[in-house]
Amino acid sequence: MNAIETEDLHIYYGKNHVIKGVNLEIPEKSVFAIMGPSGCGKSTLLRSLNRLLELNEDAKIKGDIRLFGKSVFDMDPIIVRREIGMVFQHPNPFPHMSIFDNVALGLKLNKLVKSKNELKKIVKWALEKSALWDEVKDKLHEPASALSGGQMQRLCIARAIALKPKVLLMDEPTANLDPVSARKIEELIFELKKDLTIVIVTHSPAQAARVSDYVAFLYLGKLIEVGKTEDIFENPKEELTEKYLTGRMG
């Protein structure tokens, strides 16, 4: 089954037409990479999937997005965002909250836990899942701002998966990290895809090749090519894709 499908998706910022008729089918429990040069609209496309784009009053969306067959526009955006977690390019744990509170926040907001014990359990589970538990278990109540960039990003992953979403969106999650931290995040992606579907945006073809099962190449708001990662990388059908992959563009 497809976790997410988009149908003839168009996105406008005011008069700017930034996404032009994109059709995607994202299979369940896979890693789906959206790659393309800066400004191709990949972050915009990603933000439309969990309806986060609608925070921007200028953004207009046409077409349909379906989550497991159901149009997200027929759902409460709060439910959509609970089912589709998100990790951002800049690690953004709330600096005024403790590590524990950051992970617990989504659970508290959505009233998903009944007792303190349950909350503690899920926070621990999420931190373990995001390979951060061992590093923070002794300082859960210290401010999140005390962590390193890579740790903060894993904390953001823990914060997102604590809600047990079906889909996790990642917007260039390693773009601001050092190589070691970046590798840890990539390893994490392999672990996480056992349980959920991951849509990752990246400007790096190498990263797409390493982590994804499927890849879509976006250029100037248009979907140029989409398919299994090995097919696209070994055998691109479009000239633009080949140019991009060989570093002659973007």
Binding site: L52, L55, I78, F88, P93, F94, P95, G106, L163
Partner: protein, 304 residues
């Protein structure tokens, strides 16, 4: 580098001047109030007496009522201004239509800059009668067993009137600080909180937590403005040496006391030192409040 240093030597005297004036003023306050301390000791701050006499032997001054009134009305003002200014800031930034945003902000900035006598006369002739008729009387009639409401509002001039008026006056200041901080919250945190499935109300609450230091700064500024405000307060406080727990009782504040008494103070031997000592107490209160605020803010040192 040489040019930079020249600029530095040009700037340094100005810094020295500002700081020097401040120190000088403090020294003047201390020396000018010395006679009253020599005569009464700390009784000037701990008693509620105002005995002016041409015979210096009979003079005695204690400004406790004014200190009490200053703190009472300023705390009231902050309690009123805080919810108003936070709500206003959030509305302007998150909800107001784009065309209205700028005019709303300009309007409050103008409100902040208005001469305070304008608030005072409005307070005395409009606010006080309304408060007396529709707030104080009903509360007194039904709830006079509660100490807060226990004083019969005869004139309407009271701590409550002063507190409400001050609250209205300081709201634009607190609001401007909170608004600017709220506006400059990095977008990544807004996205972050909404991506977790927060409603607008929940998101706002969390984002306000993020700007807590600015809110504390807003409170400090509001309190400072309120406790220092003179003319407007003296028009609605009643100017009575009185210490009463009731909101509806008239009272005094330090600044209104000084403003009302300074005209004839030179006639008496100890009244001028007493007024200086009263001023010094404002100075001390301001210092304590600001230090407390700074210490509280220290706890919020985090990387942005």
């Amino acid at each position: 580098m040489v040019r930079m240093d020249k600029f530095k030597t040009f700037l340094a005297p100005f810094c020295g001047l500002v700081f020097g004036l401040f120190i000088l003023m403090l020294i003047v306050y201390l020396t000018a109030s010395l006679p009253i301390f020599e005569r009464e000791g700390l009784a000037i701050y701990t008693t509620n007496v105002w005995k002016a006499s041409e015979n210096p032997q009979k003079e005695f001054y204690g400004v406790l009522a004014a200190i009490y009134g200053s703190i009472y009305t300023s705390v009231l003002a902050v309690l009123i201004a805080l919810p108003l200014s936070i709500s206003f800031a959030v509305f302007v930034i998150d909800y107001a239509p784009k065309r209205l945003k700028e005019p709303l902000m300009v309007a409050t900035d103008i409100m902040a800059g208005l001469p305070t006598i304008i608030y005072g006369i409005w307070g005395a002739f409009v606010l006080v009668p309304i408060l007396k008729e529709y707030v104080m009387m009903p509360l007194y009639e039904h709830f006079s067993f509660i100490p807060l409401f226990s004083f019969r509002p005869v004139t309407g001039y009271s701590y409550l009137s002063a507190g409400v008026l001050l609250g209205i006056m300081v709201t634009p200041f607190a609001s401007a600080i909170i608004r600017e901080a709220y506006r400059s919250i990095p977008y990544i945190y807004r996205e972050g909180v909404y991506a977790l499935g927060a409603t607008r109300y929940e998101a706002t609450k969390i984002l306000l937590g993020y700007i807590k230091p600015a809110i504390v700064a807003g409170i400090l500024l509001a309190f400072g403005r309120a406790i220092g405000e003179t003319v407007a307060v003296s028009l609605v406080i009643g100017n009575v040496f009185n210490i009463n727990p009731s909101l509806f009782a008239p009272g005094y504040t330090i600044s209104s006391l000084i403003a009302n008494q300074f005209g004839n103070a030179y006639i008496y031997k100890y009244m001028v030192p007493a007024l200086f000592a009263a001023g010094l107490s404002l100075f001390i209160i301001g210092l304590i409040v600001n230090l407390a605020g700074l210490m509280y803010l220290r706890r919020f040192k985090y990387a942005r």
